[in-house]
Structures are given as structure tokens and as C-alpha cells.
């Protein structure tokens, strides 16, 4: 069973995403800001990180760059989530090292597709 880390400061988004992914059978961990996200990712080594970009304390881009820069966590798959549905956001996320990108609000089916695609690459 794949373990996913959701880094999301918005309580409702966090709640929704975690519940819906749990329902789909994933093991879910959550972090509420970028700093906590990096710490938890490093500590529990999830199979995939769903990273919001607009996060307090440490934003998603910084957190992703840190994870990708750290050899211990550089193999972690990171999917960026952003509410800014613009082309620039996607580029910015990919540049920070994200493996994929999706927009909020979440289209669960689409997101699941992207998650599975990343997990397949890992295994």
C-alpha cells in the first residue's frame, strides 16, 4: 500500500484530499506547512508527496528544492498542487524539481492518474 504525504496548509483541502485518498486505499500522512513537510518527508520517506505550493513558513517550491537537493530524499516523487491554474505555475513547479503538477480544486480522477503514473515509475 503506497504511502502519500500531503503538504497542505488549507484545513479543508487537507481534510478532503486525505479522506478521499484514504478511501482509495492509500496510507496518508499530512503536514501543514513547508517546513513540516520537509521534516516529515525526510522522517517517514513516503512513496509520493502531494505538495501545495503556497505554504506558510516555507513555500512549496523551496520545500521541493530542499527535498530534491538532499540525496536522502531526492528520489521522492513530488506532485505540485496549485490553485493558480496558469502555465507559469507549472513551469515554476517543474523548475523547482516537481515530478508532476496538478491544479486545485482537485479533480480526483485526474490526480489519481498522476499519482499512479508516478508510483509506477518508482516501482
Amino acid at each position: 500500500m503506497a504511502k502519500l504525504l500531503i503538504v497542505e496548509d488549507n484545513e479543508m483541502n487537507r481534510d478532503m484530499l486525505s479522506r478521499r485518498l484514504k478511501r482509495k486505499g492509500y496510507e496518508i500522512e499530512v503536514a501543514v506547512d513547508g517546513q513540516q513537510g520537509v521534516e516529515m518527508a525526510t522522517a517517514s520517506m513516503p512513496d509520493l508527496v502531494l505538495m501545495d505550493m503556497s505554504l506558510p513558513i516555507k513555500d512549496g517550491w523551496t520545500a521541493t528544492r530542499e527535498l530534491k537537493a538532499n540525496p536522502a530524499t531526492s528520489s521522492l516523487k513530488v506532485i505540485a498542487l496549485t490553485a493558480h491554474a496558469m502555465d507559469g505555475d507549472r513551469q515554476k513547479a517543474m523548475k523547482a524539481g516537481c515530478d508532476d503538477y496538478d491544479t486545485k480544486p482537485i479533480d480526483l480522477k485526474r490526480l489519481l492518474g498522476k499519482i499512479e503514473a508516478q508510483l509506477k515509475q518508482t516501482s
Binding site: 479543508m12 490553485a83 480544486p105
Partner: protein
């Protein structure tokens, strides 16, 4: 927008409009959430539902904050960052609505507790949130290029918002539909209103200019006008005032739509003739309600107008048909009564009156035309109001004759006695007629009146251009026959009329007459008075018949119909009074026989013909039959001559 610039009214209106459009799906979501609450029993799902409700509230708050921020003085960088923040937050809050809706849907499916209603409500929430996201996307996409020259850009993006809005909402509700003209110089406002109203099934035309709108209105007046108050070329207020000058356009309801909550402007508009005033942003529900109300009212107004026109047409028609001889009261009655207006023709029991001035054709030859007209006008002038007084309708003036109808077109149960009473009063009024004649140095006249009652065909007779209400039937002919039996001063009523009388009448004498084309002989009554409620009696002219100092020998022919018998009969006039004479002859004459007479020794023209009628049979004397003859058509000079032969 630089710091010195205050937000313009139009910008404000646009933002109001935008707010309206962004908020309405949120309100819909909140409404469905309340409906869902009754469908959901599961505690966790109720918690999620509450999250939807708070997300919706947050969305509304963010929309307001975002639009408020648009009116603030910010530099481009600050504005971009503000917009970016709002976009992020809005997407999150709207995402929460759709996310939790999907979660509830899944949970309830799992619990096997998803009712049809709940599914419908959740689907609505999802659709509304999708709609909202689309609108936000369109809005922010456009705003990325939002620069100094912002006005048209924002218009365009609101366009697309509304277009997507329209695409996503195919629901139409049927209401009263009408032709509505939307006048607003602002493209987005105009298009929004047009879209909203088209969805309600109205036929919409639009104009961006007050002046153009006025032209359009003049060309074809719509059922309703939605009019912006502030327009560059001609403002709404002036359009209203122009419309008010036109009698037809005045009737078109106008709803002023303005972004200003300006009470003074409102009052001015209402004073200038506006039906109502709506402040932007106009809620679609309120707009629909007002529009429906206006259209309904307009429909009623139009109906009323049509009715008025119909009435006026009827009035004109009746006036034309009846001429000036119908009293206003009768016209009013015809217009007001349902059955009275059956002008097409129908059988109806009426009383017919015919009057005739005795010997008028002869008189008219003697008088000069001016005097003749003067005399007739005097006569008709006195008789017309009397006939109207008894609810009679003068159907025709034929030369010196009057044909009047009682009991039609306005039905009356008393037409027979109304006619009889009228006839008696008309005879009394001859005093006045002759008084005038004498004053003008004109000869006096006498009138005979026949009254008959029966079923006739009444209705409009004639062609399209000249039609006349009239009576046709054998009773009309019979009346004419009876009239020919009358002598001056007489009111002859048929037995049919007398049978219909409630009032008591005094009959001087009665007789049976046979008339051409009428099988049975008809009894006719010489009526000299009528009792209550009319109480009219003719002054019985008890003038003494005076013997002539010199008996006047005469030669006469008998008249049967129009034909004059060749045989000349000898006779002698032995006595005379005003208009009558006593004739002695060996010939046997029956009552009402018409005679053409030549008076021997009469100094007038050889062509002068004297006509008389046997109106009484006296005792025979000296082997001769004596008759009373009434001089029906006798030259003035001849009358004077006969009179001059009396003893005194």
C-alpha cells in the same frame, strides 16, 4: 487606475454586476446545502455539509474583498499580487465546495443512503461550483492583461463570463413574454440584461444609445423598455421626456436601470413617466418579477385601449348610421346594452310612426325654396326633440315626412304607448310650428300621424360606406297605408298598436281599412288622448262649420290609389270651416275616399288642384248625400277662397 482617479460610476456598476454574477452560484450552493440538510442523517456527512456552507460563506466574502480591492489605489505589482492571492483563495474555497460535495456523494453511496433528491442537490452544487470556477478562470485570464486601458478589457471578459454563464445554464422558465428594448451604452450591462431576459423567453432588441433607442421606439413601440439613466449621447431622462410628448409612446412602460442609488434621480424619472426604477446590480429574480408585472400591465392596458377604440368606433358608427337624430342617451344605451347592439339585423317588435304634412308637395311649389326649407327646418326642429323624448329613433326624413321607430335599436316594453303619446304631443306642438310660420308670413300646416306596431326586420341596411339603421317589413308598408288615411291633426293607430297599450286612450272614431297587399282589413283608431302616465289630449277643434253664403259648385274625380277616375262628378260645397267642407252630391262615396276637386268660380290658376278626403258621412238632404270632406291638399288661395264664401 492612478491614485487621483476616483472609481467611476460605470466602473462601480460593472463591479456590482460582476459581484452579482459571481455571487449567484454561491447563493444557489447555499440553498441546496440547506435542502441537503434534510436529506442527510449521517453525522460525518452533516459535518461535511457544514464545511460546504462555510466554504460558500468564505467564497462570498472573498468575492466582496476582491472586488473591493479593485477599487483601491494600488500599483500594478501590488494589484497583481492581490489578484493572485484572491484567485488562490477563491479556488480553494470553491474547491472545498465541489470536493465536499463529491465526498458526501461517495459517502452516501457507500452508506446506501443516497436519495434521489440528495443526488440532485449535490449535482447542483457541483454544477454551481464548476460554473463559478469557469467564471473565475475567465475573469482572471482577462485580468492578466488588465492594464491602464482597462475598460474595454473588463467588458470583454465579463462578456465571456456571461457567455459561459449562458452556455452552462439552459434552464428556461416560461413567463409572459414580450418585446423588450434594452437601452444601455455599457455593452456588458446591456448584454447581461439581454441574456437574462432572453432566457425568460422575451423578444429582445438592444440599443447602446438613447437617441437611437428613441428612433427604434418611434418605429415600433416595444412592450417594455429597460432604460439606462446615464448615457453619453442622450440620457435616459431625456428619452423619457421625449417619449412622454407622444401620446402613443407615453403608454409604453419604462423601467429605469441605474447604478446610482440616487433618490432624486428616481423621483425625477418617475415624474418624467418611468414606471419603475431598479438599482444596479439588478437581481435576476427582481428583474423577472418587475418585467412580468410590467408586461402584464401593458397587456391589460393594450386590451383596454383596444376596447376603448372599439367603443369609439361603435360610437362613430352609430352616429354615422343614425345621424344626428338619435339622442345621446339612446346612443349611450345602444353602446351599453348587449342586445341593443345587434346591428346586424334581426326581427323585432317595434312601433313605427309616420308623419306627413298635408298637402306639402303642393305647398312646396308655391313657396320659394328658401321659405320651404325654413318651414321644414322649423317643423323638424320642433318634432325631433319630441321623438327623442319618447325614446323614438328618427329613421328618416323623407321630404316632409318623418319615419320614426320606437322599441329599437334599444328594446323597450312600452314602445307602443310611447309612440302614441309622442304622436299626440307632436300634434299639440303643431301650434308652435304654425305660430312660427305665421310670424314669418308663411302658411300654416297640418300633420297627419300614423302609428303601427308589428314585427319587422331591423338592422343596418346599406353599403359599407353608407349604411343606415332601418326597418323593413310589411308593417312598415302598412304604416304608410294608414298614414294615407289620416287627415291633418289626426293620430291614427292600428289595432296592433292599441292592443299593446297599457295606458288608457280616447278614441274619437275607429274604422276598418283595406290596404293593398294586406289581406285582412285593419281596424284603425283615431286617437285623441292618452291617460296616465302621459295624460295628453288633443284640443278638440270644436270650430263651427259655417254654411256658405254662396254654395260653391264643384266637379270632382274619384281617386283610387294613384289613379284618377276619368268620370267627373257634380257636387256642391254647402258649408266650410278651417280645413274642412261639407259636400253634397248624388254620388255614393265611402269613408276615406279621396277626391280631386275643381271649384267653379275659383279665381286661381286652372292648374290648381284641390284634393280632399271623405272623413264623415252626414245625413242625406234633398235627395243628395252629404259628406264631410277634409281638405288634404288644397292651394292656400283655394282655402282662402272657400273661407271667403262663408256667411260671416
Amino acid at each position: 487606475m492612478n491614485s487621483a482617479q476616483k472609481i467611476s460610476r460605470r466602473d462601480s456598476a460593472r463591479l456590482d454586476l460582476l459581484r452579482q454574477e459571481l455571487i449567484s452560484p454561491v447563493l444557489s450552493i447555499e440553498g441546496h446545502a440547506e435542502l441537503l440538510r434534510e436529506q442527510i442523517k449521517d453525522e460525518d456527512c452533516l459535518t461535511d455539509l457544514n464545511r460546504i456552507v462555510s466554504a460558500a460563506a468564505l467564497t462570498r466574502k472573498l468575492v466582496d474583498e476582491m472586488l473591493a480591492a479593485e477599487t483601491q489605489d494600488l500599483d500594478e505589482k501590488e494589484r497583481d499580487s492581490e489578484r493572485s492571492r484572491f484567485k488562490h483563495d477563491l479556488r480553494n474555497s470553491v474547491g472545498a465546495i465541489s470536493g465536499y460535495s463529491e465526498i458526501i456523494l461517495e459517502e452516501l453511496e457507500d452508506l446506501d443512503d443516497l436519495s434521489e433528491d440528495a443526488r440532485t442537490y449535490l449535482d447542483h452544487q457541483l454544477a454551481d461550483s464548476t460554473k463559478l470556477l469557469q467564471m473565475l478562470d475567465t475573469l482572471f485570464q482577462a485580468e492578466r492583461e488588465f492594464g491602464e486601458d482597462s475598460e474595454s478589457e473588463l467588458d470583454v471578459d465579463i462578456h465571456s463570463v456571461f457567455d459561459s454563464f449562458e452556455r452552462s445554464d439552459n434552464e428556461t422558465t416560461e413567463a409572459i413574454s414580450g418585446r423588450i428594448l434594452v437601452v444601455d451604452d455599457n455593452d456588458s450591462n446591456r448584454n447581461l440584461l439581454a441574456h437574462q431576459l432572453r432566457r425568460q423567453g422575451h423578444d429582445i432588441s438592444t440599443s447602446p444609445s438613447g437617441r437611437q433607442a428613441l428612433e427604434m421606439i418611434r418605429e415600433a413601440a416595444p412592450d417594455l423598455i429597460l432604460l439606462d439613466l446615464f448615457m453619453p449621447d442622450m440620457n435616459g431622462f431625456d428619452v423619457l421626456r421625449e417619449m412622454h410628448k407622444d401620446e402613443v409612446l407615453r403608454a409604453v412602460p419604462v423601467i429605469i436601470i441605474t447604478g446610482l442609488s440616487d433618490k432624486e434621480a428616481a423621483v425625477k424619472c418617475i415624474e418624467a413617466g418611468a414606471f419603475d426604477l431598479l438599482i444596479k446590480p439588478v437581481s435576476p429574480a427582481l428583474l423577472d418579477a418587475r418585467v412580468s408585472f410590467c408586461l402584464e400591465r401593458k397587456a391589460w392596458h393594450d386590451k383596454e385601449q383596444a376596447y376603448q377604440q372599439e367603443l369609439e368606433k361603435s360610437y362613430t358608427f352609430i352616429r354615422k348610421v343614425f345621424g344626428r337624430y338619435l339622442s345621446d342617451e339612446v346612443v349611450q344605451q345602444i353602446l351599453e346594452s348587449d342586445e341593443g347592439m345587434q346591428m346586424g339585423g334581426g326581427k323585432q317588435q317595434v312601433t313605427i310612426m309616420m308623419t306627413d304634412i298635408r298637402g306639402f308637395s303642393m305647398l312646396s311649389q308655391e313657396l320659394d325654396p328658401q321659405d320651404c326649407v325654413k318651414m321644414l327646418n322649423n317643423y323638424f326642429g320642433v318634432m325631433t326633440p319630441l321623438i327623442q323624448k319618447y325614446d323614438g329613433v328618427i329613421d328618416e326624413f323623407l321630404g316632409d315626412a318623418i319615419l320614426a321607430i320606437f322599441g329599437a335599436p334599444v328594446k323597450s316594453d312600452e314602445h307602443a304607448q310611447q309612440a302614441v303619446a309622442c304622436a299626440l304631443e307632436m300634434q299639440q306642438a303643431m301650434v308652435e310650428v304654425n305660430h312660427n310660420n305665421l310670424e314669418w308670413g308663411l302658411p300654416t300646416i297640418e300633420m297627419g300621424i300614423a302609428v303601427n306596431t308589428g314585427e319587422v326586420v331591423v338592422g343596418n341596411i346599406g353599403s359599407e360606406t353608407r349604411s343606415k339603421y332601418g326597418v323593413v317589413g310589411h308593417h312598415v308598408n302598412l304604416t304608410a297605408r294608414i298614414e294615407s288615411f289620416t287627415v291633418g291633426g289626426q293620430v291614427m293607430a292600428s289595432e296592433y298598436t292599441v292592443a299593446e297599450l297599457d295606458a288608457e286612450v280616447t278614441v274619437a272614431h275607429s274604422m276598418k281599412v283595406e290596404a293593398k297587399g294586406i289581406k285582412e282589413p285593419v281596424r284603425i283608431h283615431d286617437i285623441v288622448g292618452i291617460g296616465a302616465p302621459y295624460n295628453l289630449a288633443l284640443a278638440t277643434d270644436e270650430q263651427q262649420v259655417q254654411s256658405l253664403s254662396n254654395e260653391l259648385p264643384v266637379l270632382f274625380n274619384l281617386l283610387t290609389g294613384k289613379a284618377i277616375a276619368d268620370e267627373l262628378i257634380d257636387g256642391v260645397l254647402v258649408a266650410a270651416a278651417e280645413g274642412i267642407a261639407h259636400l253634397a252630391t248624388v254620388a255614393e262615396l265611402s269613408m276615406l275616399t279621396n277626391l280631386r276637386m275643381k271649384i267653379t268660380g275659383y279665381p286661381g290658376s286652372e292648374d290648381d288642384q284641390t284634393f280632399s278626403k271623405v272623413t264623415g258621412i252626414l245625413e242625406s238632404k234633398n235627395g243628395k248625400n252629404h259628406y264631410v270632406i277634409t281638405l288634404t291638399s288644397t292651394p292656400f288661395a283655394a282655402r282662402e277662397y272657400i273661407r271667403s264664401q262663408t256667411l260671416n
